[in-house]
Subunit: 239 residues, 2 copies
């Protein structure tokens, strides 16, 4: 199956952009559609995607320009876009599903998932790699009552969210993420192939569904030197 044209354009433009100077001018939309042999609409969909993600900015009557914030970064993107971002950077992102077990979660985890004291949860341990180097080590807790009969084999070549949606009809809408700076202890440093004491990001994520009920809680640890957490903040103009 062929990827959509606009994604190919995004992929190609993104690589061009990375080689360019900040605030450099991109070819005009008409030049791009001639170059790629697609319609202007397709070009604009691609540019809009790049704009949303902060790689470019557009000025009416002037042109399209390279945004400065993405340059010179070891890795980019929040934790969700992890694999996509890596792919677009021409690197190979893989996810290793290390284990999936039914466990009795700690009180803290149980609270996050609205679990009664006796209820169990699946604990999924994953390692994300870029070009076979470990980047993120994560533990995900999923309430058993929501996802009965979950197996490691379900996750092969699929995203976790894809499985939750397709096998269980569960849609996640919103996630809260807390990010903290920590020093790696000995166990953690071995998972990430880093030195003990290295700074790293600890990311706590709680995902809720469309009824505001928690469906997942994840604690991730990401190498400080190779991972940057990125977010967009929409300002409230009334304040």
């Amino acid at each position: 199956m062929q990827k959509p044209l606009y994604q190919q354009v995004i992929f190609n433009l993104e690589q061009q952009i990375k080689k360019m100077e900040a605030n450099a001018k991109l070819p005009s939309e008409r030049q791009l559609l001639a170059k790629y042999g697609v319609s202007r609409n397709t070009i604009r969909i691609a540019l809009q995607n790049l704009e949303e993600r902060g790689l470019i900015y557009r000025l009416h009557g002037k042109g399209t320009f390279v945004s400065s914030i993405y340059l010179n970064r070891p890795n980019i993107g929040g934790i969700y876009s992890f694999s996509e971002e890596a792919k677009k950077a021409g690197k190979k992102a893989t996810t290793k599903n290390c284990s999936l077990e039914l466990v009795q979660p700690s009180e803290r985890i149980a609270k996050q998932l609205n679990l009664e004291p006796c209820q169990q949860a699946y604990r999924l341990i994953r390692l994300r790699l870029v070009d076979n180097q470990p980047r993120i080590y994560s533990k995900t807790y999923l309430p058993e009552k929501l996802f009965p009969n979950l197996h490691l084999s379900d996750l092969e070549n699929k995203t976790l969210y894809g499985v939750l949606r397709e096998k269980y009809g569960q849609l996640s809408v919103l996630a809260f993420e807390d990010v903290q700076a920590v020093s790696l202890n000995e166990a953690e440093s071995s998972f990430l192939d880093e030195k003990v004491g290295s700074p790293s990001l600890k990311i706590y994520r709680k995902t809720i569904d469309d009824k505001n009920l928690p469906i997942e809680f994840t604690v991730s640890l990401a190498r400080g030197d190779k991972f940057i957490y990125r977010s967009k903040q929409y300002n409230d103009l009334t304040k």
Copy 2:
């Protein structure tokens, strides 16, 4: 001058959606284009806007539905929830404006702010404290051409964004924040009253206005043991 058609559609649909039940189905795109007498492209631009803002979600082959969490994305995440969060915890948050100087920014900063080599910027150094303990040390760069005659006295008992809006009519719309884990060097550790080598969060923030032009760039350093960066992530239901 008439507003664009897609904005009228957004406005109208938004009012309908607010009257609807959560997870209710909206008319299909073909029905909507007949109703509004516009092309499907225009309908899709409107729906995409509503989707981005979390009012609706779309499912391939099924339809478009009302999201149960109607959120207009206030800036509750990120570094700027700092003082509010502290207040809720019953603590006293203060901001100390240490200095405001007109400087020749480094090449890196100038790029972020789209400045020509000769153009200057104000550098505002601030320290955020909770119960008189330092938490965040930040350097904010503001283009002089946008904010002439800025003085430290302008900032007394006012937020920076309040001053930019009231004195200069400058509205910020969107900010990108990159968060990285680092170890404190000697100078940094003295500002934050912490040990050298302690893990801390380095936060790069770039704020842009409604024309996608940068109006502010800030580099902040926050104590890893006392500060948590919080953000909301809206999931893409199609993935």
